[in-house]
Symmetry: C2
Subunit: 125 residues, 2 copies
C-alpha cells in the first residue's frame, strides 16, 4: 500500500467509514458479537429495521467478510449469521469511537447549545 490518497474514492479509510456510517451495519455487528443470530431474530431485535435493509446489510457485511452466513436445512430453512474474526476486530475499533462519543458527547452538546443560542460570545478560548 503505497501512501493511500485520502481524497480518492477508493481510499480504504473512506470505504470503512462508509461501512461504519451504515446505521444498521454497526447494530447488526454489535448483536452478532454475542454469538450467532438468525435472520428474523435480528429483525425483531433491532427496532425499525425492515427486512429489506436487513438482507441488504447482511449481504454487504458478508461480502466484506465481516459476517458469515450459514444456511441450515431444517424444517423451515434456518439461516444463521455469525461475526467473523475480521468483523470482530472492526467491532473493537468502532468501540473506540463509541468510547470517544460517550466521553465527549457532553462537550459536543454544550457547544451545539451555545451555537444555537446565537453564540454571542463566540469561541471563548
Amino acid at each position: 500500500m503505497p501512501a493511500w490518497n485520502a481524497y480518492a474514492s477508493a481510499c480504504p479509510t473512506r470505504m470503512v467509514l462508509d461501512r461504519v456510517a451504515d446505521k444498521w451495519a454497526v447494530l447488526v455487528l454489535g448483536l452478532l458479537t454475542d454469538g450467532p443470530v438468525r435472520f428474523n431474530q435480528l429483525r425483531r431485535a433491532i427496532e425499525g429495521l425492515s427486512q429489506k435493509m436487513l438482507s441488504q446489510t447482511l449481504k454487504s457485511l458478508e461480502r466484506d467478510g465481516l459476517v458469515s452466513r450459514r444456511a441450515i436445512a431444517t424444517v423451515p430453512v434456518t439461516v444463521e449469521y455469525s461475526i467473523t474474526p475480521l468483523g470482530r476486530t472492526l467491532a473493537a475499533t468502532v468501540d473506540a469511537l463509541r468510547v470517544w462519543a460517550e466521553t465527549h458527547i457532553q462537550e459536543v452538546l454544550t457547544s451545539q447549545e451555545r451555537y444555537d443560542a446565537g453564540r454571542r460570545d463566540a469561541v471563548s478560548v
Copy 2:
C-alpha cells in the same frame, strides 16, 4: 450517562458515527490538523468539494465545537478555520479507524472478490 441506548437515534455513538460518515468533514478536519486554513484554501485543496458543502460542513463542525471560526477584518474579509482541542481528539480517534482500514483493507477486498466471483467455496475457514 445512564447506559446509552444504541437503538435510539439520540445515541451519542450514532451522532459521532454520522458526523464521521460525512466524507468532507473528515477531510476538512484532517487538513486543519496542520494549522489554520482559509475557506477558499480548503475549497481548492479538496478536489470535488463545492462551496455549498464546504460552508455547510464547516458550520456543523463549528456547531459541534470541533473547529473554530475566526473572521479577520482585512482587505477582503479573511476567515480562518482551525481545529479545536476537542476536534483534535476526535481526529486522533478516527485515525484508529484509518489504521484498521489500512491494515485490513486487503482482507476485505479479497473477500469481496471471492463473493463477487460467485463464492463457490463459500466461507473456507
